[in-house]
């Protein structure tokens, strides 16, 4: 099988699957079990400054979004950073790292935004043997109200400042974890880079209210009749995370900055997608919290099989899709496709018809016998029918070759042409 060994900013692990800083990595017991299950690395749940540990709520900490059959699509949490004493965490980290020298162990940190606090914590972790630090500038609940977590991550200047301190007082690789609760993800990434970060990791959780208790009239999770926003994660956030990873990977200012991809990674395929968009490795939390540590075994076998099938290495995969991420204005407006329905696969549910007829372009005909056919002269190739069809590959998009006439427009399919040169664009430049 393909070699899955990973070297992320000098941190080696037997595979690119790390557990993200979160409840699964809160203590020695969990981390040992995770390593035994096959995880390549962990980011230890965020340590805070020395002193009285943080406290957590004693009511529910998680909310959930379910799909069919109560499949967990999204989790929301209001748990804070570790609530265990610093010295206990440090002792356990040292012990675990000594016993598992081949696994990555990165410590997540969050202390008040002043130089002394960062200097102190970096000094405290110095002899744990950990492989690196991850700066938690992401958590959007609780700690952010105290000027930490996403409160820092939302101010690029603070990110740069703290990152600089960390690089000044520690020789460990420094990963800056970014919050998605910001308008342009490139700005904090640029700040981290300016501050000397070795990498960024993203996304942390998204501000969210997952649901409302319609008897209590309070957000869930509800703590004694009240609820606060939490941080959203799990498969539901993956599209948001992929976009943010890609934005950093393709931006001229941050291109080449290593990225640890986080956000709804549930299967090997999710991991491969993050890596194709530029992530050097991935971090996982919700999948483990839903199914247990064993899920990594499917990720390992699946990614290995994929690389073998493609006959590429892990490094070949990283960033391979980045050149194909572009802006809308550069998309080929002369590329014409039409939906086509495979009548042998069609189960005649009519969902494509309902979607197209009620909400799109009235481009599917319902013929006697519940036969559904695409009207090429109406189809704009929106893909909605493909998306709502319950049968995989039953509806596909067929590319019209150059020179064919699009029955909808009556125009021949011609060579590449995008918005920048389109006659309807008042800003159009003459084609080269």
């Amino acid at each position: 099988m393909a070699d899955l060994r990973s070297n992320f900013v000098g941190i080696k692990s037997p595979n690119p699957f790390w557990l993200a800083s979160a409840p699964p990595t809160d203590k020695e017991y969990n981390v040992r079990r995770a390593y035994e299950a096959g995880w390549g690395g962990v980011v230890w749940k965020t340590l805070g400054a020395e002193g009285p540990p943080v406290v957590n709520v004693n009511g529910p900490r998680y909310g959930v979004i379910h799909g069919a059959d109560r499949r967990v699509l999204g989790l929301n949490n209001i748990e804070l950073i570790t609530d265990r004493p610093l010295e206990v965490n440090l002792r356990e980290i040292k012990q675990v790292k000594r016993d598992y020298p081949d696994r990555a162990l990165v410590i997540s940190l969050m202390v008040p935004c002043d130089e002394d606090s960062w200097k102190a914590i970096l000094s405290a972790i110095e002899d744990t043997g950990a492989d690196g630090v991850e700066l938690n500038f992401g958590c959007p609940h609780g700690m952010s109200e105290r000027g930490m977590g996403s409160a820092v991550g939302q101010v690029p200047e603070y990110i740069e400042m703290v990152t600089r301190w960390v690089k000044q007082y520690s020789r460990m690789p420094c990963i800056v974890k970014l919050t998605p609760n910001i308008a342009d993800i490139r700005k904090p990434a640029e700040a981290a880079k300016r501050g000397g970060a070795d990498a960024v990791s993203l996304i942390n959780t998204i501000n969210s209210i997952t649901s409302v208790d319609l008897d209590l009239f309070a957000p869930e999770p509800t703590i004694d009749g009240k609820g606060a926003h939490g941080g959203y994660c799990g498969p539901a956030v993956k599209p948001i995370a992929l976009n943010m990873v890609a934005e950093i990977a393709r931006s001229a200012e941050t291109r080449g900055l290593p990225i640890s991809g986080i956000g709804g990674v549930t299967t090997w395929r999710d991991a491969a997608e993050f890596m194709a968009l530029g992530a050097g490795n991935v971090q996982v939390c919700t999948a483990a919290m839903t199914y247990g540590f064993k899920v990594v075994q499917e990720m390992i076998s699946g990614l290995g099989q994929y690389l073998d099938d493609k006959d590429i290495t892990l490094n070949d995969l990283i960033g391979r899709a980045v050149p194909n991420v572009t802006d809308w204005q550069y998309l080929n407006l002369n590329y014409v496709t039409k939906a086509q329905i495979d009548q042998d696969l069609c189960i005649k549910c009519g969902r494509c018809y309902a979607a197209c007829e009620d909400t799109s372009h009235q481009a599917i005909a319902m013929l006697p016998g519940r036969v559904f056919e695409v009207k090429d002269d109406e189809c704009v190739a929106c893909n909605l029918c493909v998306d709502v069809c319950p049968v995989e590959d039953c509806i596909t998009m067929r590319e019209l070759p150059l020179g064919d006439t699009d029955p909808r427009t009556g125009q021949k399919v011609v060579e590449f042409g995008n918005w920048t040169t389109h006659p309807n664009n008042p800003m159009a430049k003459a084609a080269e």
């Binding site: 059959d69 549910c349 519940r370 049968v391």
Partner: protein, 446 residues
């Protein structure tokens, strides 16, 4: 216990009471809320869904399943019951594999349809714990006679009552329900469901139930035409076909009678059944009689059908149910004689062959031991009053149950419309009621 499946002749209590009770318990237990949620999640909410087309009462199945999926089974039940007031019984007795579930696109996709019947039961069971969700419109002053309190008559009466008409239902038997109460297998409608359903739907008001009043015996059609503004006939098929085997010394019995007696027997350990039972026929009545004979403790139960298995009107699901209960199915044989003697009775069959000239009886015969022969070879219409046109053994109707006589409608098994199913009877009763309503509100001679 002194009897066993091996006790010769007819005997009661062939099995211990708990075994009989277990056999006659709910044969398809209800879904619990979790199972219902999982089952409901599988529905694709099809456009113009094929399952709805396949339902004789046209229940909006995707909508009610979505209402279950969103945890509003009461709303789901209202959706079901507004099309089919006997939706609870239909959820239990419909041959769903040939109706809604047979048309389900997931049957096409995976060979495993959404469990529509069981979901319908889930929703209607919830509804049955509360008063019915329907209210009676302001009284119209019109009065309708409904003859027969089976599914067709009940559906018709309920819909008429909803529209504000007064209804008097004449039922020949001592209690209402028709085949739901007297006809179908006991394990399909446990806990007196048929009566509970009637008790639940009648309180809409405006319905007077006159049991023990048979058409032609206690009331005449002419009387009804004189006394009421309209008449609905939902009399079912009161007679049975004769297998032509003579009296047969008490060995031969009609399967419909056998099932009716069984349904009305409180203590099933008191009901005698043969050691060797032979059921003649190929429909659901044959299956119900055969399976229940086994459940009472008959050692050998054989269904014998005169044509090939593919011609049996009992669905594959029903046939599987029978064979799973230990019933043997033999085909292409027709009864020619019952022989009785000191060694017990036997029934003799001639082999048959289906050819271009129809069904041919062959010379070769075989015999089966038979302490009890149950005849389930079809039912027929009792003699109808003069003036009503009967075609092919059924009351002739056009459109929504209009008979050939103005002011008289008919529906259910006594007409040739649809299949002889509870759900078809409900649809016909309901549709006739709507047509009668239009007629009544337009004036009697309109």
């Amino acid at each position: 216990m002194t009897n066993s499946p091996l006790t010769p002749g007819l005997a009661a209590a062939r099995l211990p009471a708990d075994a009989i009770a277990a056999g006659f318990s709910d044969h398809e237990p209800p879904l619990d809320p979790h199972e219902a949620a999982v089952a409901a999640d599988r529905c694709y909410f099809c456009y113009d869904a094929p399952c709805v087309d396949a339902c004789p009462t046209g229940i909006d199945i995707p909508l009610f399943i979505r209402q279950i999926a969103t945890d509003t089974p009461e709303a789901a039940a209202a959706t079901i019951l507004s099309s089919n007031i006997l939706g609870g019984m239909c959820a239990r007795v419909c041959p769903t594999e040939t109706l809604c579930e047979g048309a389900c696109v997931r049957e096409t996709a995976e060979g495993k349809p959404v469990e529509i019947g069981r979901l319908q039961r889930y929703a209607t069971d919830v509804a049955m714990t509360a008063p019915q969700p329907f209210a009676r419109a302001a009284a119209t002053g019109k009065h309708v006679a409904v003859v027969g309190a089976g599914p067709a008559g009940l559906a018709c009466a309920h819909r008429l009552a909803m529209h504000g008409h007064d209804v008097t239902v004449y039922e020949a038997r001592p209690k209402p329900g028709g085949l739901n109460e007297f006809g179908i297998a006991a394990y399909k409608a446990t806990d007196a469901f048929a009566q509970r359903e009637v008790d639940w739907l009648l309180p809409i008001g405006g319905i007077t139930m006159e049991c023990g009043k048979a058409l032609g015996r206690d009331v005449t059609l002419t009387q009804l035409q004189d006394d009421f503004d309209a008449v609905f006939l939902g009399v079912g098929l009161g007679g049975v076909n004769d297998p032509g085997l003579g009296a047969a010394n008490g060995v031969l019995r009609d399967a419909v009678d056998f099932i009716a007696e069984l349904r009305q027997t409180e203590d099933l350990t008191s009901l005698p059944v043969g050691r060797d039972v032979v059921v003649i026929g190929g429909g659901m009545t044959a299956v119900d009689a055969a399976v229940q004979s086994r459940l009472l403790g008959a050692e050998n139960v054989t269904i014998v059908y005169r044509r090939g298995q593919e011609a049996m009107s009992a669905s594959d699901h029903e046939q599987d149910h029978a064979t799973g209960a230990g019933v043997r199915i033999r085909t292409n044989a027709t009864p020619v004689a019952i022989h009785t003697g000191d060694q017990g009775a036997e029934i003799e069959f001639a082999y048959t062959e289906d050819g271009p000239g129809g069904l041919q009886k062959l010379d070769e015969t075989f015999r089966l031991r038979a302490d009890q022969v149950l005849s389930a070879i079809g039912q027929r219409l009792h003699a109808m009053p003069d003036g009503l046109v009967v075609e092919g053994g059924k009351i002739a109707v056009t459109g929504p149950g209009r008979s050939t006589v103005a002011g008289i409608w008919a529906g259910g098994d006594c007409t040739a419309e649809g299949e002889d199913l509870t759900v078809s009877a409900v649809a016909q009763g309901r549709d006739a009621a709507e047509d009668m309503h239009t007629y009544l509100m337009g004036g009697k001679n309109g």
